[in-house]
């Protein structure tokens, strides 16, 4: 991908949204009515309302509304109760358990290993007894299976700030308190964002899309398009134009097939283009020496 991935934040309440919007300089987008969306440079946020169904719907709405990319980062931020951990402590989910269905998931910890981790249990009614050592909340089990349809699980995380417990009733969790807790958690959340953005940079780069010049010049069937895409990917990988990004890769192919002194005048059909291009790609491959990559892996 040529530009950095976007961070998508999913929260239940406006009081959770406000500190995050301030941190990331997000502004409300009045174009959206089904859910409140905040947008900014490299990040956006949706306020879904309370509960796992709302969280799932808001996450899906956001993905469709902003045309999410497969290397984007998704984070559900919220508050929850815990029987023993301190108010204001911040937890990434190592396990998400849906108390209603019994389903559970383990968000990969690739980007969160330096952060405190806990089991997060999604409940449908307020928990006042805190029977187990976990964070009780109401959205994660709706967010997780939805968000992981749009991005790699490693780039998808759930973060909860402890807002209540046996010594601090859930009835005291009012908007001002939630906003204060999220504000206090911003340094940790900011570190987590950095870690996830770093990880996203290791995602596979997107090979160049097929150049429109080629598609206009010759008619390719669907199968031939796939063959052309694979040849173009090979050419891009072999010529190191992958280091120059998608546009450079696309231009490289156009230069081979159309550029002066391109053979396009002699290539009369898509089949001839594919044969010629395959031959050129093989020639490039056979001339290439192995190179030590710039990145470690």
């Amino acid at each position: 991908m040529e530009t950095s991935p976007t961070v998508h934040l999913v929260v239940a309440l406006s009081c959770e949204a406000r500190p995050l919007a301030r941190l990331l300089r997000l502004k409300g987008d009045p174009a959206h009515r089904a859910f409140r969306l905040f947008v900014g440079d490299g990040a956006d946020l949706v306020v879904t309302g309370v509960g796992k169904v709302a969280a799932a719907a808001g996450t899906a709405y956001m993905a469709a509304a902003i045309d999410a990319r497969p290397d984007d980062v998704w984070i559900n931020v919220g508050v929850g109760g815990h029987r023993s951990e301190a108010l204001g402590s911040v937890w990434t989910a190592h396990t998400i358990r849906d108390a209603g269905s019994g389903r559970h998931w383990h968000p990969p910890r690739t980007a969160t290993e330096g952060f405190a981790a806990a089991e997060v249990v999604t409940i449908e009614e307020v928990e006042r007894e805190y029977p187990r050592e976990c964070v009780y909340e109401m959205e994660a089990a709706g967010f997780w299976p939805t968000a992981t349809r749009f991005t790699a699980a490693e780039l998808c995380q759930v973060v909860k700030v402890v807002s209540d417990g046996p010594g601090s009733s859930v009835d005291e969790v009012v908007a001002e308190r939630v906003e204060g807790l999220i504000t206090a958690a911003l340094p940790t959340l900011s570190d987590l964002l950095d870690s996830l953005r770093d990880l996203a940079s290791a995602a596979p780069p997107a090979p160049p899309a097929l150049a429109s010049e080629l598609l206009e010049r010759w008619h390719f069937s669907l199968t031939q398009r796939r063959q052309l895409e694979r040849l173009q990917q090979r050419f891009w990988a072999l010529t190191s134009s992958s280091e120059g990004g998608e546009e450079a890769g696309r231009q490289g192919v156009v230069d081979v097939l159309l550029g002066p002194p391109g053979p396009d005048a002699e290539l009369r059909s898509a089949t001839e283009v594919l044969d010629y291009f395959a031959q050129r790609v093989d020639e490039v491959a056979l001339e290439r020496e192995p190179r030590t990559p710039r990145r470690g892996s």
Binding site: H94, T95, H104, W105, H106, P108, R109, T110, E113, G114, A117, T148, R149, T151, A152, A153, E154, L155, C156, L199, A202, A203, P204, P205, A206, P207, R230, Q233, R234, F235, W236, A237, L238, S240, S242, V281, D282, A285, L286, E287, R288, E289, P290, R291, T292, P293, G296, S297
Partner: protein
């Protein structure tokens, strides 16, 4: 090194599990029911996970020891393979594991006793000597500091002299071998590539020189060695690079210490290859002229012959044919064997 350990509840109380956990005191421990709930999830990215894989401690319940596919054994033996671990500490760009598994996490099956029982049973039921290849889905030695696999299985095979064990590795973690007397029924088989290719494609592995030094130390201690020139990688300068590699290896290792030498060109099941090109679309190694022959992707036939015939000829200039066991498909295999 490892920040997170998932532990099947079934193996949590086992002494080996506790020993392993004591070696990873800073790791976050997460209980799970079965390893598949972490390892087999669909939305995972092998490439992203490889940045920092977690460890999964699990029990293997069936298929502990399996017969090797046709063409992958040794003549005169009944051959089996087994994997006490899934995935590898190293990150070789050509590795089939990237195409086979959805997850890059390391799964370590801690019920070594069950593997050993399966080995014993296979030996008992066989009419020929048995040869067991370890390290099929992992590196046999790279994780030794945590797993203690080799230490345990060397003890076991010391009491089973009628069976043979191959430890397949790129690792220089050989203390478990050097700290005991060499076993005549164990072969330490090293995968070797020319220096430039190792640097370009075998990320996180010990370099060629380090592997050669480890092999020299093992040879001096009396261990039998195997050489695995696999995968052979076609490129413009392959003749010079592989000739240089063979000259260096056979100059430093006396043929007397070699149990066997094999080679095999780069080849992958087509579905794995397709997965690899999606995981690493920018990788030039995967953009070489390849073709799919009956579901296996390898170099174009003319290139394949050029590569394997050259390397075979070079290797046979150094060693007797009796210890040479190429891993080649039908037509090519018969050409080499003749």
């Amino acid at each position: 090194m490892i920040g997170t350990v998932y532990i099947e509840e079934e193996v949590l109380a086992q002494p080996r599990t506790q020993r392993i956990l004591s070696r990873l005191p800073a790791a976050t421990q997460i209980p799970i029911q079965r390893y598949g709930e972490v390892f087999n999830v669909r939305s995972q990215s092998f490439r992203l996970q490889k940045v920092s894989p977690s460890l999964i401690l699990a029990a293997k319940h069936s298929g502990h020891v399996l017969p090797t596919p046709e063409g992958y054994g040794l003549p005169g033996y009944r051959c089996f393979y087994f994997s006490h671990m899934l995935n590898c500490l190293y990150d070789c760009r050509y590795c089939f594991l990237q195409g086979m598994f959805r997850s890059a996490h390391y799964v370590l099956f801690v019920n070594y006793d069950d593997f050993e029982a399966a080995v014993r049973e296979a030996v008992r039921d066989s009419d020929r000597p048995c040869f067991f290849f370890s390290g099929y889905d992992c590196d046999s030695l790279a994780f030794e500091g945590v797993s203690g696999f080799a230490a345990s299985f060397l003890d076991f095979f010391a009491d089973l002299p009628e069976a043979f064990l191959e430890l397949r590795t790129k690792s220089v973690a050989i203390d478990a071998l050097l700290s005991r007397e060499a076993l005549s029924n164990v072969v330490v088989a090293y995968s070797l590539s020319p220096h430039d290719l190792a640097a370009a494609y075998e990320h996180k592995t010990p370099g060629l020189e380090s592997r050669l030094v480890a092999m020299e130390r093992l040879a001096r201690a009396g261990w039998k060695l195997g050489l695995r020139f696999d995968p052979l990688l076609y490129h413009r300068g392959f003749r010079d690079r592989y000739r240089q590699l063979f000259d260096e290896v056979f100059r430093r290792l006396d043929v007397e210490v070699l149990h066997s030498v094999s080679l095999g060109p780069f080849r992958l099941p087509a579905s794995y290859f397709s997965t690899l090109t999606k995981l690493y679309p920018e990788e030039a190694l995967l953009a070489a002229p390849m073709e799919d022959v009956e579901g296996v992707v390898s170099y174009r036939k003319d290139l394949l012959s050029e590569l394997t015939e050259f390397c075979t000829g070079e290797i046979l200039g150094h060693i007797p044919r009796e210890i040479f066991h190429p891993c080649l498909s039908g037509e090519q295999g018969s050409q080499v064997a003749s």
